[in-house]
């Protein structure tokens, strides 16, 4: 049986790849994809601990995280499309309409 710490290490690696992606890419779509990757890595951690402690609350929490992630992606993409209709660019360096 694969130890739980292996799943935690894999989850940490995926989380860090997502975090580096969010910080270093300039396209808003790629940033949204990397945020989804980070959420998935946390899901993996929760399910690994649900198996570790034989407690189904981890899996219930993952279910709710999936619902939240779906809602967040819908609203985030709507914001992205609305901004693209305004400025015709997806580069987040150009998202400065609300700057002082």
């Amino acid at each position: 049986m694969v130890p739980t710490s292996y799943y935690l290490i894999l989850s940490a690696i995926i989380f860090i790849i997502g975090a580096v992606g969010v910080l270093s890419r300039r396209n808003a779509l790629i940033i949204i994809m990397c945020v989804e990757m980070m959420l998935n890595s946390v899901n993996l951690t929760l399910i690994a601990f649900a198996r570790q402690w034989d407690n189904l609350n981890g899996q219930v929490f993952v279910f709710m995280v999936m619902a939240v992630a779906a809602a967040e992606v819908a609203v985030g993409l709507a914001i992205l499309i609305a901004h693209f209709n305004l400025s015709k660019t997806t580069n987040i360096d150009d998202v400065n309409v609300m700057k002082w």
Binding site: M1, V2, P3, T4, S5, Y6, Y7, L8, I9, L10, A12, I14, I16, I17, A19, V20, G21, L23, S24, R25, N27, L29, I30, I32, M33, C34, E36, M37, N40, N43, L44, I47, A48, A50, R51, Q52, W53, D54, L56, N57, Q59, V60, V62, F63, M66, A67, V68, A69, A70, A71, V73, A74, L77, A78, I79, L80, I81, A82, F84, N91
Partner: protein, 173 residues
Amino acid sequence: MDFAMIFFILVGALSVATAVGVVTSRVAVHSALFLLVHFATLAILYVTLNAQFLAAAQIIVYAGGIVILILFVIMLIGSAPLETRAGYRSWVPYAGLALGLLMLAGMAMTMLQMPLTPTDPNANQGGAPILLGVQIYSQNILLVELAAVLLLVALLGALLLARQPKTEETTIS
């Protein structure tokens, strides 16, 4: 090294490789397809962790919903080649990578010290739908209601954001 460990290493390596592919692709559609394979590998890992319902939910919600939404947005926005390197100073990605490796080293040092194996491998109830459903709808029913409200709010928000601004008088029939 038994079959479970080899399987985990192979699927984990594929998961990390597709994650790197998402971050480093120059074409948006390639990133979306790498993300799709990444979600599928995670669903496989959920099955090995005895969470079968969540593996199916992962495929339905993430691979079949979120990636499709992202591909629709790529279709609407256009697949022009993504940003050039002139947006930021040249050392920024390498500094990010170095900090990421530092974070990974810190996390790994903490995690590898914990002796984490399942307490009793045969006592796991498992993630079959009936067991998860009984848990959700009896003890965590408030979460179901809150998730419903959240999804309603997200739906209304997305509709509101995607509305065209009213320019002239339009009659609603």
